[in-house]
C-alpha cells in the first residue's frame, strides 16, 4: 500500500498552504465555471479571462482538500498566459496522467491511453494520486471545471 508521502509531496502541501491565483475575477469580462465533487462536497469556481484565444487571467475560489486545492493552484500557473489550444493540451496531458488505471468511468476509454508529449512540470508531483483512486476526482475537479469554462467562453464569444 502506498504511504502518505506518495500522496502529499512537499510541493503539493506548499500550493495548498500558499495557493496561487486565488480569488475572483470580475464577470464579465471574465467567465465563471463551477464544479462539484459529489463524493466529498468540494466545490470550485474557476474564473477565466480569455481574450484573443489566450488565457489573460485565471483564478480560483471555493473550498476543498489539499489535493483539489493544490491541483487547482498548480493548474492556474500552468495555463496562465497560454493559448486556448495549449491549455487544452495541458488538460489532456494532466487527465491522461490521472487515468493510468482507467478509473475514469464516464465516456469510452479507447484511444486516450497514451500520454501526449506535453511537459507537466510541477504537476508531476500529483502523479502519486493515482495510487489513491478516491482522490483522483479531487485532483481532476479543477481541470474538468477549466475545460468546461473554456468551452463555455468559446461558445459565448
Amino acid at each position: 500500500m502506498a504511504g502518505l508521502e506518495d500522496l502529499y509531496r512537499e510541493i503539493i502541501l506548499d500550493h495548498y498552504r500558499n495557493p496561487r491565483n486565488r480569488g475572483e475575477l470580475e464577470t464579465p469580462p471574465a467567465h465563471m465555471a463551477e464544479g462539484f465533487n459529489p463524493l466529498c462536497g468540494d466545490e470550485i469556481q474557476v474564473f477565466l479571462h480569455v481574450d484573443d484565444d489566450t488565457i489573460r487571467d485565471v483564478s480560483i475560489s471555493g473550498q476543498g482538500c489539499s489535493i483539489s486545492q493544490s491541483s487547482a493552484s498548480m493548474m492556474t500557473t500552468a495555463v496562465m498566459g497560454k493559448t486556448v489550444d495549449e491549455a487544452h493540451q495541458v488538460i489532456r496531458a494532466f487527465k491522461a496522467m490521472m487515468s493510468i488505471h482507467g478509473d475514469d468511468l464516464g465516456g469510452d476509454s479507447t484511444g486516450e491511453a497514451q500520454e501526449p508529449a506535453v511537459g507537466l512540470g510541477d504537476l508531476e508531483a500529483l502523479r502519486g494520486v493515482v495510487k489513491f483512486p478516491v482522490r483522483i476526482k479531487c485532483a481532476t475537479l479543477a481541470w474538468n471545471t477549466l475545460d468546461q469554462g473554456l468551452n463555455e467562453s468559446a461558445s459565448a464569444s
Binding site: P38, L39, C40, L105, G106, D108, V134
Partner: protein, 422 residues
C-alpha cells in the same frame, strides 16, 4: 428435431457443474433434489457464494463515499462488476449499465422516467401477447395515467410472434416493448428484426431479456435495441439485483427516477442537480454485495462459455421434447415452438386432466421442483385457454436424468389422479 435419437452431444460437463451448486446436494423426502425451476430463479454456484462471503468478511463498506481502504476496494469491486456486465451484454460503455433491484424495477424505471417525460394522450405502446407482467403492468399504469394506448402483437398457433401485421401495428407507436425469450413458452423472438421494424416506424424498443441473458450470448449492439432489462437471480447471481441498459443519449435526456443520495451532484434548498450516468439512476445505497455477486456469476458463466450454455440447453430441450412425447403421447401437451433452435429450455406442460398445482405436488413428493401457475403471464394464459400450466425449466446443471425423473413423475401423477376411488 433432427439429431440422432439416442446419443446426445452434451457440450457441458454437467456433473462437474452440478458439483459447484451446494443446493443440488440437498435431499427432499430422502431423494436427491431435481431442480427444474430455473426459469423462476437459478441456483447459485459455490463461487458466487464465496464472493459474497469474501465481500462481507473483507471489504464491506459503503461505496463512493469513503476515502479509506476498504471503501475504495468495495467501490472498485462494484465498478468492476459494472464492467463485467458491460462486456457480457456487449454494451458500448459501462456508464450505460444501471443497477436496479430486479428486472421489474428496470422496466418501471423506463416507464416512469422516459415514459412520463415523453408520452401523452394519443401516444401508443406496442407489447406482445407473451409478455411477463413485468413488461405489461408498468405500461398499463402509464396508460391509465396518461391515456396512452397499448397494442398487443398476436401469436401464431405454435407460440411464436405473429409478425404479419407488425408494420401496421407499429404505426404511430412510440415504444415497442417485447421479451427476447418467453418464460412460459420458451419462444425466442427475432430481436434484431423487431428492433429494426421499431426503428423503421420511428419507435424506440425495449427488450425484456430476463429469460435470454442467462441462457445465451447477448449483444445489445448487435440487437440494436434502445433499452434492455434483465435480472441477476436467474443467472447464478444473488437475489436483489437487476440491470437496465440504455443508450447514453436516451439516458442522458431522461429525468431521474428515484431521488436521494448518490444520484445528485448538488442539493440546495431550491432544488438538486442530477449526477452523471450511471449514478443519476442509482439512488441510495446500491445492492453492493449483490452487484459484486452478479459480477462473479458472470465470471462463472463466461468460464463455461455462453455458446456452450446455449448448445447444452438446445440439446437437452430436444431430448426432453422427444422423450416426453414418445412416452406420454396424447396425455401430454407441451406449449410453445417445437423447433429447438427457436426456443429455450422452458417446458410448459399440461398432463391429462391433472391440474398443474396437483401435478407439481405429486412431483414435489419425488423431490422434483417445477412451478405451477400462471407464471406472471395471465394474458398469455388466457390466450392459451388455461388457468395454469406446470413448467419445467432447464439450466446448465440439468441433464437427461432430470428429464427422465420428470417423465416418471408425470406417469405417477396420472395414475394417482385417474385411479377411481370406488
Amino acid at each position: 428435431m433432427t439429431p440422432p435419437p439416442d446419443s446426445i452431444d452434451m457440450s457441458l460437463d454437467t456433473a462437474a457443474i452440478k458439483a459447484d451448486f451446494p443446493l443440488l446436494k440437498q435431499e427432499v423426502n430422502g431423494q436427491p433434489i431435481v431442480y427444474l425451476d430455473s426459469g423462476a430463479t437459478s441456483q447459485k454456484p459455490r463461487q458466487v457464494l464465496d464472493t459474497l462471503d469474501r465481500y462481507y468478511e473483507e471489504i464491506n463498506a459503503n461505496v463512493h463515499r469513503g476515502a479509506y481502504h476498504i471503501a475504495e476496494q468495495a467501490t472498485s469491486a462494484m465498478e468492476d462488476a459494472r464492467e463485467a456486465v458491460q462486456r457480457f451484454i456487449g454494451a458500448p460503455s459501462s456508464s450505460e449499465i444501471i443497477f436496479t433491484k430486479n428486472a421489474t424495477e428496470a422496466i418501471n424505471l423506463v416507464a416512469y422516467s422516459w415514459g412520463r417525460a415523453n408520452l401523452t394522450e394519443g401516444d401508443a405502446i406496442l407489447i406482445t401477447a407473451l409478455e411477463h407482467h413485468a413488461n405489461i403492468v408498468p405500461w398499463q399504469q402509464l396508460a391509465a395515467e396518461r391515456g396512452v394506448e397499448i397494442r398487443w402483437l398476436p401469436l401464431t398457433d405454435d407460440g411464436r410472434l405473429d409478425l404479419t401485421d407488425l408494420d401496421q401495428m407499429l404505426d404511430g407507436v412510440s415504444l415497442f416493448a417485447f421479451s427476447a425469450a418467453s418464460n412460459v413458452l420458451g419462444t425466442l423472438t427475432p430481436v434484431r428484426q423487431l428492433a429494426d421494424a421499431a426503428h423503421g416506424a420511428g419507435a424506440l424498443c425495449l427488450v425484456d431479456a430476463s429469460q435470454a441473458v442467462p441462457h445465451m450470448p447477448t449483444d445489445v449492439t448487435e440487437w440494436d435495441c434502445d433499452f434492455m432489462a434483465f435480472t441477476g437471480h436467474k443467472m447464478c447471481g444473488p437475489t436483489g439485483v437487476g440491470v437496465l441498459w440504455g443508450r447514453t443519449e436516451l439516458l442522458d435526456a431522461m429525468p431521474p427516477f428515484l431521488g436521494g443520495g448518490e444520484m445528485i451532484l448538488n442539493v440546495t434548498r431550491e432544488g438538486f442537480v442530477p449526477n452523471e450516468l450511471p449514478w443519476k439512476f442509482e439512488a441510495g445505497t446500491p445492492p453492493i454485495a449483490e452487484i459484486i455477486g452478479l459480477g462473479s456469476a458472470i465470471t462463472y458463466l463466461e468460464a463455461i462459455g455462453m455458446d456452450a450454455v446455449r448448445a447444452h440447453e438446445v440439446a437437452l430441450t430436444d431430448y426432453a421434447l422427444r422423450t416426453l412425447r414418445e412416452r406420454h403421447g396424447d396425455d401430454l401437451i407441451i406449449h410453445g415452438p417445437v423447433d429447438t433452435t427457436k426456443r429455450g429450455g422452458v417446458l410448459s406442460i399440461c398432463y391429462r386432466d391433472v391440474h398443474p398445482h396437483d401435478l407439481s405436488q405429486v412431483l414435489d413428493q419425488r423431490g422434483i421442483c417445477v412451478r405451477a401457475g400462471h407464471h406472471c403471464a395471465k394474458p398469455l394464459m388466457k390466450l392459451l385457454g388455461v388457468g395454469a400450466t406446470a413448467r419445467a425449466s432447464l439450466y446448465i446443471y440439468n441433464d437427461e436424468s432430470d428429464v427422465d425423473l420428470l417423465s416418471d413423475g408425470l406417469a405417477e401423477a396420472g395414475d394417482f389422479f385417474s385411479h377411481q376411488p370406488d
